[in-house]
């Protein structure tokens, strides 16, 4: 069986003056595959290249080298117009739901937008029905749909963004830090929602996050990214219980547990140093 998404040796560079060291290699020869119905978690710290990789998969930043294959067809060199039909299949959910929604549109209007743009054959009535059904699927019912973004909570807005991504019935979702801007008591609602949607729709998903515990709740397979490279790849259980790369171990050990004894033991071990771990950033 061929994978839904197959990324090989992907490299993303950003320009930088030669005096400052030349181009920045944000993503450096990364390969990954995602099967239909599976969630791959991509973990790393700020500047490690995880968002650049997510964007490159969706054709939002160009690859400097390597390739992205979707259903065994190469899509990274496609001109804009040819990529357009693929937008129905590959969708994206961002970190900040407030910034992703137009403040002057109602929630229902925002969810209808991608349908208008990508499924032009759909009648107005068909569109309304699809919007209502998708919003219902994410738990935004009735009168909430006719409200404006500022009238909803952060969790409700992120549900709306997920509904907007799902409205065109995609086969693949890139979620870039989808719960990082939400309160702890609400984060779980969104994680559980994504788990249910994957189960019910059989979507493939690349779930990008700096929070290993959140990723571990959801992902079948985990990739750990550091300085533009994948330094560890394995099943969720393997990475958590038997990490092989020292950076993965540092990452695992750095999260303070909600237990005074172990949290204090952790910081007692970090009392020296400027910053105990080397920067995850390639540019520093």
């Amino acid at each position: 069986m061929t994978a839904l998404l197959d990324v090989r040796d992907a490299t993303v560079t950003y320009p930088r003056p030669a005096a400052e060291g030349g181009p920045v290699m944000a993503v450096n020869g990364v390969s990954l595959t995602v099967e239909a119905g599976s969630i791959v978690g991509l973990v790393g710290e700020s500047g490690c290249g995880k968002s650049s990789l997510g964007r490159a998969i969706l054709g939002l930043v160009p690859l400097a080298a390597g390739e992205v294959r979707w259903r065994d067809r190469r899509i990274d060199k496609l001109p804009r117009a040819s990529f357009r039909p693929l937008r129905r299949e590959l969708q994206l959910v961002f970190q900040d739901p407030t910034a992703s929604l137009d403040p002057r549109m109602t929630i229902a209007e925002s969810v209808a937008e991608p349908l208008r743009a990508l499924v032009p054959g759909l009648s107005a009535a068909g569109r309304d029905a699809r919007v209502e059904a998708t919003l219902g699927e994410v738990g935004i019912a009735g009168e909430l749909a006719s409200r404006f973004p500022h009238q909803l909570s952060g969790g409700q807005l992120q549900r709306a963004c997920i509904a907007r991504a799902l409205a065109v019935d995609p086969a693949f979702l890139v979620c870039d830090e989808p719960v990082s801007a939400l309160d702890v008591s609400v984060q779980g609602q969104i994680v559980n929602l994504l788990a249910r949607i994957r189960r019910e729709r059989g979507l493939g998903c690349l779930f990008i996050s700096h929070n290993l515990a959140v990723v571990a709740h959801l992902a079948d397979h985990i990739l750990v990214m550091h300085r533009g490279r994948i330094v560890e790849s394995g099943s969720c259980a393997e990475v958590l219980t038997a990490p092989r790369h020292p950076y993965t171990r540092t990452l695992l050990e750095s999260v303070p547990e909600v237990d005074p004894v172990s949290a204090r033991r952790l910081i007692a071990g970090r009392a020296t140093g400027p910053d105990s771990a080397p920067s995850s950033r390639l540019t520093s």
């Binding site: 309160d183 008591s185 559980n192 700096h210 959140v214 571990a216 709740h217 910081i267 009392a271 771990a277």
Partner: protein, 321 residues
């Protein structure tokens, strides 16, 4: 022991198109050398509480009640509040760049605070600055002093911001989400630094955060805020292992833990929007244990064996209702 900081019935109101009560009758004390964590989600009023204590509210904000620092009333006395800022109470914020001037070297900025805090010559102020940079574990203080904030990593910048807050040797440090903007591998080091500095400098700490792991690492005592109120307050070990308020219990259960799989525990619904008015308990709409009286009567913060809880039906020590 007399309190270093003592807030009584502290209320913060914002006027505008809609009147908002951000903090609603909060009592809080910090003893000398004590580390208190105020925990809450966005909009719970935890940051406004800190600002109100030191007279730093926005122009449309008004604080009422009483805030005493070392016995002296600060509310309604801008000069007393100004005198306490810096030498009495130092500040570290989430965004270190906001505490530093972008166009001056780190060393100058630190020395300036030392000079305004105590009458020092420029030269000895500079020595103090270098000593403080070493104290916050920044390597090669001499070279670093000449650098500008943008030349440093996020973790280093936060260490400089901490050094800046400590230059005037405050007796209490206010830290508002000091590690939230940092990577987790850097966070542990900054938490360790804060803990050690409190010990070395005999300094009390009031840390405001939403991160219960950070709280577990630093706090002696915890106050949990919800919708402008303190709903539970107790010693850290007791509160984290045996929460008595259903909100505290829900918050603790919601933290994703490494190695757990499947459904995450959540609290249904969302925190109230600032400005919402309440009749009964503010947590009632989201509470798994709500009963009739919860929507009718506002529970007061009442003393229990190990602290205080504001709930008609607090959880028992073994976690049941």
């Amino acid at each position: 022991m007399s309190a270093l900081l003592e807030a009584r019935g502290l209320t913060v109101d914002f006027s505008g198109r809609q009147a908002i009560r951000a903090v609603d009758g909060v009592d809080l004390t910090v003893a000398p050398r004590e580390r208190l964590a105020v925990v809450g989600e966005s909009g719970s009023g935890k940051s406004q509480l800190l600002l109100a204590c030191t007279g730093l509210l926005a122009a449309n904000g008004r604080a009422a009640g009483s805030v005493r620092f070392a016995g002296r009333e600060l509310l309604g006395d801008p000069r007393a509040a100004a005198a306490v800022r810096g030498r009495g109470i130092g500040f570290v914020f989430q965004d270190a760049s906001g505490s530093l001037t972008p166009h001056r070297g780190i060393g100058d900025q630190l020395a300036e605070v030392a000079m305004s805090a105590s009458a020092l010559t420029r030269r000895s102020a500079r020595d103090e600055a270098l000593a403080m940079l070493a104290r916050v574990h920044l390597p090669d203080a001499g070279a670093l002093a000449a650098r500008y904030p943008h030349e440093l990593s996020g973790g280093m910048r936060q260490r400089v911001a901490i050094a800046l807050a400590l230059m005037a040797r405050p007796r209490l440090l206010f830290a508002d989400e000091p590690t939230t903007a940092l990577d987790v591998t850097v966070q542990a080091g900054v938490l360790a630094l804060l803990a050690r500095l409190c010990d070395e400098l005999d300094m009390a700490l009031l840390i405001v955060t939403h991160d219960l792991g950070v709280v577990a690492a630093l706090a002696d005592r915890i106050a949990v805020m919800y919708a402008g109120r303190v709903v539970e307050e107790a010693a850290a070990t007791a509160l984290l292992s045996r929460p008595r308020h259903p909100y505290t219990a829900g918050l603790l259960a919601s933290v994703p833990r490494l190695g757990d799989r499947g459904e995450l525990a959540t609290i249904p619904g969302a925190p109230p929007v600032p400005g919402e008015s309440f009749r009964g308990c503010r947590f009632e709409p989201r509470c798994p244990n709500r009963a009739e009286r919860c929507s009718a009567f506002d529970p007061a913060l009442a003393r229990i064996a190990v602290g205080h809880v504001a709930c008609h039906f607090p959880l028992t020590v073994d976690g049941s209702q």
